[in-house]
Symmetry: C2
Subunit: 469 residues, 2 copies
């Protein structure tokens, strides 16, 4: 599309949707094109719809004016799910941010897609209710984005992932029609499960306009424990020990000692140079149950060789521990000139050996590899740190990541536990998804979006990958 | 297909699959054609494959010999999901009944589809593990059937339904190819969620050959409470009160006083003629937590007006209470010359008024309506009792059920919470599923089974319903 054509599309969008909902300045277009993947070029325009009607109008305009659409929540995707480029219009759903209902009797919430996850969590807790999914980005990421990527997070061990809390989805499909599936009934098995098919579809099947989410009664109490280990795989063995003791914590978060040191530096705290790995454990229930599970978990951690296992003394220390966990991603960004991050999952029993094999591959290539994440779910964020100014560094990282994928797939694991495929993992996804499954997925895409206007090229590898990661 | 052609198909099947795996006697064909829906005619033949290779051979034979296939677990479907007819071959998966793995470290089980749900539950509990889904039929129904119908059951309040425990599915598709999706990784978001798409697809998308299921550590203890109420909606208010007290029980099962009387009669016990409704509550956790939740629930039940609320004194009484619950379905079969059963779900807050409206509709038509089921999930089994010998009885029941569907759909509910659509609910499903969703579902079917050999006419209404219920 040449500059004159782009100007004509922008003018047509303003005419159809109004100045309030269409943003065309170069700065805004640049910002809205980028997500945490850093893969983007400037998009054509940004539409910030105030309601579903404007989303429908946008999709119809895409057909008539010849552009494609990139749905966007808060742009926290590390895989490029929300990354936009030339010829694309970003639909930024942040204005559709109303919490429509938090219903204690039905145990459901109804929200627009732009509501922040943390905002719903807070509203629920005020009402004595609980929205369990808790991506590390919950304070800044939207529920629409969480559902679109099938977000996991910190509480999945006990409570499951976002997918398990989506009861209903209302969305605008690729032809501008509305699909409204599921609702406030807590169980339903009528026809195929289109609700779950939309979860994790990364904006390629529809643009959400309303989500119905399942809630639980709020647990009375939670306790956070921290355990340090001299061995780098000590935290994984600690997680095993807690589960083997019959305790089902809501969180079991591991980090390498190196990661703890990076976070300590970022937060201006002292690091422990002898630390091999650290495990955070959070248990919940009524006050006594949480306390007793904490005792049991502590005993199990000590028996598993923790050098320092203790419970957070008060809410301030608890908050501090979780702030440390949530700071890992920004801290690592600051600690290295560049990083690649992978979001790997393996069967639980394979966690320690898989991480060790990936680190060995990094050593062989001279690439620093650090790991942290959800030990309870065996879903780790493995980061590959490098300096792009060094000759050959990118190639060495690429080879190390390729080897990491070998390790994970040979272990029966997954190339993405919770971040999705986006653009960055298309090549890896092609290794995981069988040709038979891929053919069905492409057929599904065609059912929801036959003309390919919704986030084309993301989530499901095409005949040719757009990007080889 | 005439008799000679049918004989030729049977002979060809025996030739391809061997005498051990092909059953053609009229008695066996009659038995294998029927499920709990009582909707069937005699099928052409029954294949009892010993392995996946025989399932593939069967599907290829279907194409070459011109028959369609009805997958069958234990045949407990009340909707006709497993009902077969002339020109169809039943694939009875009961010989593929190996538990391939119960892995405490990975927290997964791998099973063939013919394993009984109760057999896996028992094996897990021996290993200190827990497979939470617990359909009332668990002692006789298969895991393949549970997954195929997206079975719910008694523990869904706290633990969710079968869908939430399916990590991986291996299946033979309609063209005889193998689809193998998901696996032992506890979280994965790579491509569209074909695992969940297979769950609840009622054998119309593929024939399962292996299932990977998620397990939890076994809760240390469970306590069962029973509460009686004078009012017929007392049990629903009791369930509300337990949840509002912040207790999340694993089961909250309500039954009308009439249902309790039918069960008492069936079990040879004395019935309480003053009973309006009864609620069973089961809480779990460690010993102390279960005991304390039981105390809290009891207090809440008493405050909600329970006339008699108490905990089961010992395992024998607990077992007796649950035997009563599991006996409802057979007891009602014996108590009435005929019944129709619907499996309705509504938003939790609408439960009492929906049941009252359906009972009023029954009174207006002279149809006896009784209700029981999962009050915590607002998913009730509403039974319409009648005597088919009475003139007009069937028509009066049909009108009452039609009115019940009006009530449920107007309340934002579902015409099936956990039994699925099968054949019996195709007409009702057409009222719940929007035309847009229906078009996508038909497209999905076509992707998995383009020539329509797998359980045709079930689960998703066709252009014309095969059966109007």
């Amino acid at each position: 599309m040449d500059a004159a054509a782009a100007d004509r599309v922008r003018a047509a969008l303003v005419e159809r949707l109004g100045r309030e909902s269409v943003v065309v300045s170069p700065e805004d277009r640049r910002l809205a094109s980028a997500d945490a993947s850093r893969m983007f070029t400037d998009c054509l325009a940004v539409v910030r719809p105030k309601d579903e009607g404007e989303v429908v109008a946008l999709v119809k305009a895409a057909h008539e004016l010849g552009f494609t659409i990139v749905p966007r929540g808060a742009g926290t995707s590390p895989t490029g799910s929300a990354a936009a480029g030339a010829g694309q219009v970003v639909v930024d759903l942040s204005r559709m941010d109303r919490i429509l209902a938090v219903d204690a009797r039905d145990l459901v919430a109804e929200v627009e897609p732009g509501v922040l996850c943390g905002a719903l969590q807070a509203r629920c807790e005020e009402a004595g209710l609980f929205y369990p999914p808790d991506p590390a980005s919950s304070r800044v990421s939207t529920l629409g984005g969480n559902v679109a990527t099938g977000a996991g997070g910190l509480r999945a061990v006990k409570y499951g992932v976002t997918r398990d809390y989506v009861l209903g989805v209302r969305a605008v499909l690729g032809d501008g029609s509305i699909l409204d599936v599921g609702g406030r009934a807590l169980k339903s098995v009528v026809g195929y499960d289109l609700v779950r098919l939309m979860v994790g579809s990364e904006g390629t099947l529809g643009i959400f306009t309303k989500l119905t989410l399942k809630l639980l009664p709020k647990p009375e109490s939670a306790e956070t424990l921290v355990a340090d280990f001299a061995a780098v795989d000590g935290a994984y063995r600690g997680a095993d020990a807690v589960l083997a003791a019959g305790v089902l914590p809501r969180a079991l978060e591991a980090m390498d000692g190196e990661v703890a040191a990076i976070v300590a530096d970022y937060l201006g705290e002292a690091a422990d140079p002898t630390l091999g790995s650290r495990l955070l454990v959070e248990v919940d229930g009524d006050r006594e149950a949480a306390a007793r599970d904490a005792d049991r978990a502590l005993a199990a951690l000590k028996a598993a060789g923790a050098t320092n296992a203790r419970r957070a003394a008060d809410p301030a220390e608890r908050e501090k521990l979780w702030r440390g966990r949530r700071s890992i991603s920004p801290a690592v960004y600051r600690a290295s000139p560049a990083k690649k991050s992978e979001d790997l999952g393996v069967p639980r029993s394979k966690l320690g050996e898989a991480v060790a094999a990936i680190k060995a591959a990094g050593r062989a290539e001279g690439v620093r590899v650090i790991a942290y994440g959800h030990a309870g779910d065996a879903n780790l964020h493995v980061n590959f740190l490098y300096d792009p100014a060094q000759s050959g560094a990118k190639e060495r990282v690429a080879r190390t990541i390729d080897r990491a994928m070998d390790v994970v797939l040979a272990a029966g694991g997954t190339i993405s536990g919770e971040h999705g495929v986006g653009l960055k993992k298309l090549a890896a996804a092609r290794r995981e998804i069988s040709p038979a499954a891929l053919a069905i997925m492409r057929g599904v895409k065609n059912l929801f979006d036959p003309r390919g206007v919704l986030n084309p090229g993301k989530a499901v590898p095409a005949e040719e990958d757009l990007c080889a990661s």
